[in-house]
Each structure stands twice: as C-alpha cells, then as structure tokens.
Symmetry: C2
Subunit: 759 residues, 2 copies
C-alpha cells in the first residue's frame, strides 16, 4: 500500500501520466571502489533518488547535518571513487507481448548499466532519460548494477586552489553542472548518484511512447491549428479516442479513429483558444489533452494525458534600440531583449533560479511549488534558470506552467571556455536534445540560452565556439519558434554589479544604476546576511560573532568568497553605520541595505522602460545555507527581508521615487524624483501623488503632484521633491510616496541620517 | 572543332574535371509571354550562358550598348514577363547503361524544366545545380524547355519609388541577389536567365559523382589525416587508383584497390604537408588529387582531379579585446574578428567584391582572373564577397585558391528584413546547402557570413531571425570548422563612413578614423569620379559637364544616389578646391581625395593593429560603369588612381605618417606622427626614418627618427614631425617618409595648401 502511494506521488510529477504502465520501485544498495573492476568493500543501503554522499554519510556515521560547520568537507574524498548501485529483482510474470523496462529520469553523471553481468548501456550525461528494454535478457533472479565513474576533472584543474576560479574549470569538458565544483556561494561538493525517478516499468506490447500536442496560432491569435502526434509500439489497428478539454473541463475537440501506424498525426482546429498568460498579464490557462487507446475488444490498452497551452512568445528589439548606433563607422545594433507574449511586450520581472537543494536528488515537487508560489506572490513572471546548475525535474516545468512563471532555460554551461573537442560536443548534443524534447512543449518556456556569461573575459567563449553553434543549431532544428540566445549577457544586456556601494570608487548603486542604459538587467545583486535563525543553524555558537576567516562564515561564503569581504561586506556596512558590535546589528544593517538596494534596482530598471525590458536579480534562492549572499530566500526556503522589498518593487502598479544617494546630513537638501510605474495593460486615471518624509516618526508632506494618468504599459515621470533635511534623533528616516485612493500603490524607502559634527 | 574548344574552356573552370563525361552544348531560342501557359509571340536566338535582356536587346534592335546613357531603362518591362528557353536535340546513341543528363550550373531564378511536354523539375534559386537524368524519357526528337517566372517582388514594394530604399525590399522573400533591384551604385536591372555552364552530359553507367578530399591537420600542423570520399553510381567491383601530388608534381600519396560500394572513403596520412598561405604570408601551395576508375578489363571508366590544400583558419578574439568591457553592469565582449591562418594572426587587407558584370552570365574566368590578379598585386589577401550580389562561379574560387586570396563568402541576403516564412526558409536552405557543398573544400574559404548589414536599423533582422539561425545551423552541420558570422558588422566591427569629409559636422576622415577603435573596418569608402575615358564611354557628350540631375550622371549614380550629392560630392570638392570649371579638374580633385582618403584609411586601420585586424574598403569594382562611386576599378576593369594609393597603403612593410587634417595654411604648424607598419612575420632591423615636406618641388627634411626596429607582425610608432608651413605657390604640397636603405618602404601624401587672405 505504501509503495503504491509513492508511485502515485511520483507519477503526479510527470507532465504525461502513463496510465497503463505498471511501475515498480526497487531497493538499492551502494558501494564504493577505487578501480572500475573492484568489488566494493561493503554494501550500504541507498536512497533512490538521492546522492552517493548521503548514503555513505548515513551508513558510515558522518557528522551531521551535512550543512553544519565544516561537515561538507567530509565528502571531498569521494570525487575520485567509483560508486556502484546494485539491486536484485525476480522476473515478473509477463503476459503475451508484455515488456519490462528499466527507466530512470536521471543518473548523475557518467555510468554503465549492467544486467546479470551484461553491459546494456554506457552513458555520459545526467539529463538524458534511460529507458532500457530488459525483456529478452531476464533470468528468474536478476541483478541490476549501475557503476558511476569518478567525477569529471581536467588535468589543469585537478588541484584545489582555495578562493580561485580554477575549481570551475573542471567542468569545461563535460555537461556536468559547473556549480558543484565550487562557486562564490556554493561549496565544492560534486554531488552524484541516481537523482530522479527510477523504476521498472511493465508495458503492454501496444503502448504509447509519446502523445505530444503541438499547435500553430494564426497571426491574430484567434485560431489554432492543433496536431496530436501519436507515437508508440504495435499501434497498428488500435483505435484511439482523443479529447481536448478547456480549463473548465469543457470538451472543445473530440476525435476518434483507428491507427494505421506507430506514428500518426491527428489534426484539429480550435477557434478562439483561451490564451496562456504569464503572471501579471492574464491567467495561465491550460487545456488538457486526453488520449486513450483501445484494442479490438474495446479494452483500454494505454492512455496519456497532458496539459496544453496556447501562446506565442518572441524576443523582439527593445523600444528605441534601433535608433542606435548612429555614427559611422557604425557597428551593429544591440541584440533584442524584449519578450513579447501573445503580441504584447511584457516587462520581465524575475530572478535567477539556482537549484533549491545542493543534493538535487532530494528536490521534490513540494519544494519547487513552495518557491514558485513565493515568486508568483512577489509579482514575478520569469525565472532565468542559470546554466551553472541543473535542468530541473519535470515537476518544475509543470508548476511554472500552472503558476504563469516564464522560464528562461540555460543549457549546462557556465563561466568556462568549453572545449571544441568532438567527444564533448557529442555529449552536449545528446543532453541538449533530451532537454529540448522534454521542455519544448511547456507553456512556460520563454527562451533557450547557451549558458552563463560565456562571452566575457572570465569565460572566453565567442560566437565561433562550436558548443554554442551546436546548441543554436539543435534548438533551431527541434524548436525553431522559441527564442535562442548564445549566452547572457547578450550585447546590450547587463550583469552586475553585486554590491551596495563600491568604496574604492566612492559610488553607490543609486548612482551607477541610474546612469546606466541597458536593454535588460539580467543579473544584479545586493548581498544580505542570512536570517539569524539560519545562521545559528549551521555556525557553531562560538564562531557566530564576529565573523572571521577560517570559520563556518568562510566555508559558507560570508567572507573570503569574492575578495576578502564579500558577501558580508563589513567595510561597506561600517562605512555607513560605524563599528558594529553584535550579530543582531550586523544582520539588521546587512539586510536593510540589501532590501533598499534591491528595491532601488528593480524600480530603476522599471523606470528605464521602454528601453529596458527586464529586471532579474541575482539570485532567488540558494542550494545550501550561505552566511551571506545575494539571495532572497535562505536555504531551505526561509524568506529574507529583501524578498518583501522586491515583492513591493515588482507590484504591477506602484508609486516610486528615485533618490540620488543613501546617506544624508541635517540641513542638506534632500531630493527625489517621483514616478508612477505601470507594467499593466490598463491605463491609469489621473490622481494626486504625495511625497512625504518621515523623521523621528513625524510625517511631513514635501510634494503634491497632479498625476495626469498614464496609458497602458506606460510609466509617468513627475517632478522632483525637495526638502531641507530637518534635525532628527533617529539614525534612519523614511520617504513615503502614495497615490490618492490607491493605498496598494504606496511605496516607502529608508535612508541614513548622518549626524554632522555640529549635532 | 569550335564546339570542342568551347567545351574545353568551360570544363577548365571546374574544380573537378570530369574526364569521361561527354558534354554537348545546345542551341537555344527564347521568347517572352504574359501568362505561364501562353506561347511566345516569337522565338529569338538565345546566348547561353547569358541573360534574357541581352537576347531581346539583340533580336529587337534596342539601343546599344546597354550601359550607355539611359539605355538600361529599356529593360524595365521585362520584370513581369515569363521567359521560355527552348532547344531541340536528337536522342544520342546510348551504349549499355549509358545515361544522358541535362546539367546546368545556374538558372536565374524561378523556373520549370520541361522535356517533351513533361515537367521534370520546378526550382526556385539560381545557385543550385540542375542535374536531371533524361535517359528514360527520351524520344528520337526531343524538345527541352525552361520556363522562367517573372522576377520575385513583394506587394509592398511593387511600385518603383525613385531614390528610396523600397526597391531592395522586393528581395526580402527570395534568395535572389538584392542588388539587382537597385542600389546607390547599381541601376534597377533585375537580370535573369541561364547564367552558368549548361549542357547535355553523356555518362557511363559507372561514374563518379564526387571525389572530395578532406583532411584534418594535427595541432602543430606537421601532419594531415586525409580522406578521399568517393561517391558515384555502379561502382561496385571497379578498381581505383588515387594519386596525391605536391605542387612540384611529386607523388606523396598513392593508393589503389577495389571499390565495394558506391560510397567509399580512402584514408591516407601525410607528414609535413606544405601549407597553403594567403598572399603576403607565404605561398598558396596546392596539391593535386587524381582519381581514376577502371573496369575489370582495365579500361578507364572515369577520372576526376582536384586541387587540395592544407591550412587551418580560425576567427579569434582581437588582441586586447578581452580587456573590455570592465565596469558593471557589464555587457558581453565584442565578437572575434581576427583571422588566424595556420596558427598565425594575419592582418586582413582587402576589399569588398561585387560581381564584375551586371549580366552575370557574361562573367568569364578571364575577367575574374584579371581582377583577382590586380588585387594580389595590390598586396590584398581577402575579398569580402558581399551578400547583395551573387555567389560566384566555380572559376572564381579556383583562382582565389591559386592566387592566395581569402574569400569571406556571404549568403544572398543584404539590407532587408528577410521573412521568417517557411517557404522562403526552404528556398534559402536549398540554396545554402548547394553553395556550401560547392565552396567548402576550397583553400580560399575563410569564413561564411549570413549577409550584409542585417543587424542595423535599415535592415532590422536580429539574432532571432530564422533565416540567420538556419544558415548558422546548416554551416555548422556541413562545414563546422569554417567560421560563421551572422552578418557584418558584428559587434565591434565598423562599416562606413563613405565620404572624405562631412561638411555638416565639420569633420574629415582624418579625424573620425583616427579616434575610432574597431576590431575590423569591414567597409569604408571614399568616393571618386570615374576615369574620363570611362565617363565619355557612357555619358552623352552634351551632358558631360557640368554634372546634373536627370542626365546620365544621375542614372549612373554620380548625383542623387544617396542624398543629392553622392557620389560625386561636389560640395566637398568645392569646399577644398573652390569653384570647379571643367570635367578634367572635377575628375582630378575627386580622384585625388579618393586616393588620399583611402590611403589614410588603410594605413590608419593598420596603425590600430593589434586591436584592429582588418581593413576592407567599399568596394573593389562595379558591375557597370558608374559616374562616381567608392570603387577602385571602373567597369569593366579600368584602374582608377585610388587603386595605386591602396596598393601602396597595403605593402607588407611601409613607412607611414598620420596627419590630423587635409588642408593647411602658410605659417601654420604642420604636424604628423610617424610610423613603420609591419604586417609580415619578419622582424625589421633598426634604421633611420626621415620625414620630408615638399613644397613647390623643394624637399625639406623635417624629422630624422632613429627607428629601433620592430618584432615580427609589430608596428613601430615614432615621434611627431612638426614644421611651420612655408609660403608656396602650389595648391598642393607633399609629405614623404622614407626608411634608409629601403626605398620600397617610402610613402608620400598630398595635402592642400590654403592661401590665407594675406598671401
């Protein structure tokens, strides 16, 4: 009974429910060995899906939890070992034509599958499903083994050099996500193992292998030509029944007939399809396709159901971008960076997604849903799924479809000069084809990208790099109507900065962001310390304050992660707030600057609309608990204060001010420009906008603006408010901007009050 | 006897000589009609290869020559007519297994091939060879017809609007070269017809269809793995003999055997291959591959020979380009624009190639050779074959191989937003595959490009345009190791300017070019009037002076071509030289500014090495006689003075000065910076460099520089020469810079002496 429940949970994660397939989970053991041919010295219980590190940790009584203190170092030795998974099972009773498959949705990373001593498959790559017909090779008692090779490394980077970027170079000849070799917010922990649903599948001779629904919308989006592409085995002469139901369950297409072949296309026409819209622009309407197959005795032999959307997404030139460059010798114009959905430009507000758990085998649909829901509630509409991490499990895409979150999906390349060698290109092609096939029919898929920051000096790939030409080519072949970019940033997009202030240059994000002009801010960050409860969960109490190198603060990237001071950035905090004497104050100031900084960045990107079309902070969450970094959520899903600031900055309509700096003195003329930002396709009526300053709890109106209203998807810029800053006791003061009759539009900003020597 | 001679000439143009194929030229007639099904009112003799316009011109006694005055307008009506070519032939005696093919290397543009009333082929596209087996369809007397459709147009651009760019939009849904719809140096003349070798081919049952030699060089270029890829029909059990001979005729590979199949690969290894080098960097060494097939009776049944090169070409990042950009938010680095041949960066000096004759059917190997030889003698090493024109005939590539001229080959897209429609993409794919297959094994092929200026505001294609993604994909699939760029300019490259001075802004090329910083100047121009003899060959004598609108000057783009004054640019000439009173003075001044301007541009691009890697002027030649434009050669192959200035500026080593402007006054301090430019891989020894000024024929030394020598491929920058400009009588003065003991390095520059009011 319990097993049945598990199966149900697992299959719920799939976009396509395979109704007639009988799945059996297996009990696995694991062992490690130095040479491929060695037998493991011992066998330990293995969790599947899971990770080799976790199985050894439990069996060999490692210090736990793995995220505490320096416990992660316990796993280092495993990189160079082989690991073998083993299971045994009895041959099931097979009726005529029934076939038994071994199916796995993810084995990480380079492995062989061996049944009863016979090698069935060798595969490099964790994103290509394994689907092996065992039928003809079965004995009464069977032993299935999966031997994992040591993790990929390259000669030049085999030595750990702490604090350098040589770590990540180990990924430059493989499709293994680069982040696991270490990043400025991720420890070196090269996870490995069976990481996604894995089972034996008993299938009828006649069964479906695919039932994808594709469509083409006409120019006015008022009608769709739909195709159901049936593929399977021994389908000749089976009859089918196909229903397409709208989001209310109403049948809008009904077709039936007899299949002539194992590949057959059924066409249909749908008038006035309800369109799928991303969050903030309409409902993410999903239809349901239900296909059933029957034999001559009208017995149902297979079925598949899947979600179907109708929407059109393009990546078009930003408004005003064709006006540049103007002078000869002229170079090209910037790359397009404006997403258009169903004929409407959207302002893409979102975040960079890194996987939510360092051991990707532990990620569940529930975890995905918790974080996706939080993003939706923060008025976001897009995730950039960063190429340093994994391509997520099926349930991630199902949930993004459902919540109206667009997905910018990168292939597993990041911050490296990936080789032109053919053996790597072959693996990449296999993995890319698998990923595209899996994701391309999802409503949420907004664009493909080759990977992260590949055309910058720290990576040194170019438009000529064969890996990127290959990915463009495969995407064009398999999914031509989804936009493809080679990498982010494209020409015209911006990445960074990742700090609140640059003390060396004497500038703050208030200045550099306001004077910039990018088509899309696809990465920007302001660091913030973790919540205190999170810090206490992994930093030994004796190390908690002050933060110091060679403690859990460093291993968890609070200090020494990028230069000496990031991500805690104590020099910046003490520059503004003076010497900090407690953990509580440290966290408060760090989280305040993160919140204020991110609020400014998102709102400023929006103020730069229509030229600017996107604002995605780096990053949304983290795969293990960092002491400080740019994320909005602490691991596992703890909300940091910055999350709420970002949620406010991403409201579809809001009043906004742009101040020129963070810290002010009494007697100085405080100024700020006032705006109403409107990302919706509703026009806004005229109203009264009020700016007030709040010092020591006293509110004083400093500007009334007769806001004339705006058109759909247009911001309005107002006058500049100005006030001589009064004397006050508090270290901080606030500015509030509100729109009469629209309390939801109110925004507040916090600034620092610097007492001058006279006070 | 005469026919045999013609056949020999034609086959000499092919890279692959098909020794055993018997070719028969046909006598063609042509007629025109309004509807496809109409019979032509009359039949006229047709020249093949040729053009429909020329046949009608001769038969219907049009005003000739076609380039004179306004004669070109006579052809306008033909655009919307069908044209049918017709020929008849008797069935030849066929021995057992012999096959008769109709073969054409180019029919322009959309056509059907009909044999004895039966349609054998419909094809859109002029670059895909037609090769049709007629054997089973032959009668005793046969009629072969080719029906050409009217030229492609789009609704939006069907109306001629003189002087606008709507002309060229007609090309945006086809693979027809856009230039024929009109450009600022090309009349609207949409040529059409059978434009390349066309014949009946009698082939043995067993015959070769391909015998391509491919190779891979090892990293150190010291050894090549070679593959001969034999393809043909009925080759089973035939024996082959394959020889590879070096450039001296010495046999370096000899293989023989029996073919098992119609597709077979023969491998060989060659140590220390002599490398092919572009002009200025070594010899363009070509080997010869000779393949012969024999039947069981040792009778030779087919043979093919082809040229084989060994070289490696990459497009790599320009020196210093990875250092930018530096500040956050950071966008991507520029695209690579530095050609590396056989492991060495080269400085690409060359020109933009437009086809040398408006009726492309008239282009011969002799014409190609004349112009290619002139480019080589001008020390050029690359042609950018501009996407507005045709992909050249086979002999062009053979000659570029032989002369060491690199070819940057664009696909037929230029200055348009080519449609994403599938029907266009299908034609483009067919044409691109044909072009790639034909060109990819040529030594000269340096890079592929999607087309001209597609990412600029006047075209409005982007990285997302399906046509460009398709081309990248096909090039990756068929020829992955040849660089591909989507268009020129890439990010970092520059196009323009195309004038000597901008009077509105008050600047000259001396200023804007010197302060620019591009990775590659892939188009820049300075206009110059045609030679007087050329002007007189097409402008009626009464219209010769002064140049005026609505005369042959305008139809031949001397005035009103781009704005009112380009390309003659009388306002600029009179700004410098005062009122011009004769044709002779006009041409002299125009050609002087073109020469001085281009000399400065090429030398300045070279001075910007190593960051800059290319200098290609717009344009090399012209397809009909223009009254004035940027070309170095007047049609048909008349050398303009600017050609000699460019040849001097492109010498592998030269002394060079950079002056800040063109016109100077007596008493003003004339200054210039001195340089020695070295594009060779030889180091230069130390020497004495002297700068002299020559006024009224008197030479005065103004600087002696102890030139310290330079390393291989490195320039040297010296001091700034300075002299108070003496009073003089002449309107012009010269500056001469020379290197002691190296008279070949001497350069001279001409400047304008402005008499001030006091003189």
């Amino acid at each position: 009974m319990q097993k049945l429940l598990i199966i149900l949970l697992l299959t719920m994660n799939s976009a396509i429910l395979s109704g007639q397939e009988k799945r059996t989970l297996l009990n696995w053991e694991i062992g490690y060995h130095k040479q491929v041919a060695d037998a493991p010295a011992k066998w330990m219980p293995a969790a599947v899906p899971g990770a080799v590190q976790l199985d050894v940790m439990k069996a060999e009584h490692y210090k736990q939890p793995y995220w505490y203190g320096d416990h992660v170092l316990q796993f280092d030795w495993m990189e160079d070992y082989f690991f073998t998974y083993r299971t045994t099972f009895k041959k099931p009773a097979l009726t005529a034509g029934q076939q038994l498959y071994f199916h796995s949705k993810g084995i990480d990373y380079h492995f062989k599958v061996i049944l009863n001593g016979e090698e069935l498959l060798e595969q490099e790559g964790m994103f290509t499903y394994v689907d092996l017909d065992l039928t003809g090779k079965l004995k009464e008692n069977n032993e299935l083994k999966i031997i994992l090779r040591p993790v990929p490394k390259i000669e030049a980077a085999k030595v750990f050099v702490k604090g350098t970027e040589t770590y990540r170079q180990n990924a430059r000849e493989s499709a293994k996500p680069a982040v696991s070799y270490g990043w400025d917010w991720h420890p070196r922990l090269v996870t490995r193992g069976i990481w996604d649903e894995t089972y034996l599948a008993l299938r009828n001779r006649s069964h479906l292998t695919d039932a994808a629904v594709t469509y083409q919308l006409n120019e006015s989006l008022s009608a769709a030509n739909i195709e159901l592409n049936i593929a399977g085995q021994s389908l000749h002469n089976t009859s089918f029944k196909w229903l397409l139901k709208d989001d209310k369950g109403k049948i809008v297409v009904e077709k039936s007939g007899i299949l002539a072949d194992d590949q057959q296309t059924v066409s249909a026409q749908l008038d006035q399809p309800k369109l799928w819209w991303p969050n903030g622009y309409g409902e993410p309407v999903l239809y349901t396709s239900e296909l059933e197959l029957y034999d001559n005795d009208k017995k149902r032999i297979d079925q598949q159901s899947s979600k179907v959307d109708f929407r059109k997404i393009r990546l078009i030139m930003n408004e005003g971008a064709w006006d540049e460059p103007q002078t000869f010798p002229v170079t090209r114009s910037v790359s397009p960076a404006s997403l258009e959905v169903n004929g409407r430009r959207i302002f893409a507000k979102g975040t960079n997604w890194v996987h939510p758990e360092i051991f990707v085998g532990l990620i569940t649909a529930e975890l995905y849903e918790k974080q996706i829901k939080l993003a939706k509630e923060a008025h976001m509409n897009i995730f950039r799924v960063w190429g340093g991490g994994i391509t997520n499990k099926q349930s991630f895409f199902d949930l993004c479809d459902q919540y109206g979150m667009l997905v910018w999906q990168e292939f597993p390349l990041a911050c490296n000069n990936y080789t032109d060698d053919q053996s790597y290109l072959n693996v990449l092609e296999q993995e890319a084809r698998s990923i595209i096939k899996r994701v391309k029919n999802h409503a949420c898929l907004a664009m493909w990208s080759g990977g992260n920051e590949l055309f910058n000096s720290w990576s040194r790939m170019t438009d000529q790099s064969l890996a990127l030409r290959l990915l463009n080519s495969i995407c064009y072949q398999l999914d031509p109507h989804t936009p493809f970019i080679a990498t982010s940033p494209q020409y015209g997009m911006g990445h960074g900065y990742y700090v609140f202030a640059d003390l060396e240059k004497g500038t703050e994000l208030y200045q550099w962001m306001a004077k910039d002009r990018k088509t899309a801010y696809t990465e920007f960050g302001v660091p913030g310390a973790a919540n205190i409860s999170v810090l206490k969960s992994f930093i030994p109490s004796g190390e908690l304050f002050p933060p110091a190198p060679n403690t859990a603060w460093e291993l968890h990237h609070g200090v020494g992660a990028w230069g000496d001071h990031r991500w805690l950035d104590l020099p910046v905090l003490e520059h503004y707030f003076g010497k900090i004497h407690s953990l509580e104050k440290l966290v408060e100031y760090s989280q305040l600057t993160q919140s204020e900084g991110l609020q400014f960045m998102y709102e400023e990107a929006r103020r730069q609309k229509p030229y600017c079309s996107m604002a995605l902070n780096w990053c949304y969450q983290e795969p293990w608990p960092s002491a400080a970094n740019n994320s909005l959520l602490n691991w596992p899903s703890e909300v940091k204060p910055a999350y709420y600031a970002v949620a406010k900055a991403c409201r579809p309509v809001l009043a906004s001010v742009r101040a020129p700096k963070f810290s002010w003195k009494t007697g100085e003329a405080f100024t700020c420009d006032v705006f109403v930002l409107n990302d919706t396709y509703d026009a806004l009526a005229s109203s009264q906008v009020t700016v007030a300053i709040i010092c020591d709890g006293k509110e004083q109106t400093i500007l009334n603006w007769d806001f004339p209203g705006t058109k759909a998807f247009e911001n309005a810029a107002g006058p500049t408010a100005r006030v001589v800053l009064p004397a006050m006791k508090d270290q901080l003061f606030k500015v509030k901007v509100s729109v009469k009759g629209k309390p939801d539009y109110t925004s507040e900003y916090t600034f620092l009050h610097l007492k001058d020597a006279a006070e």
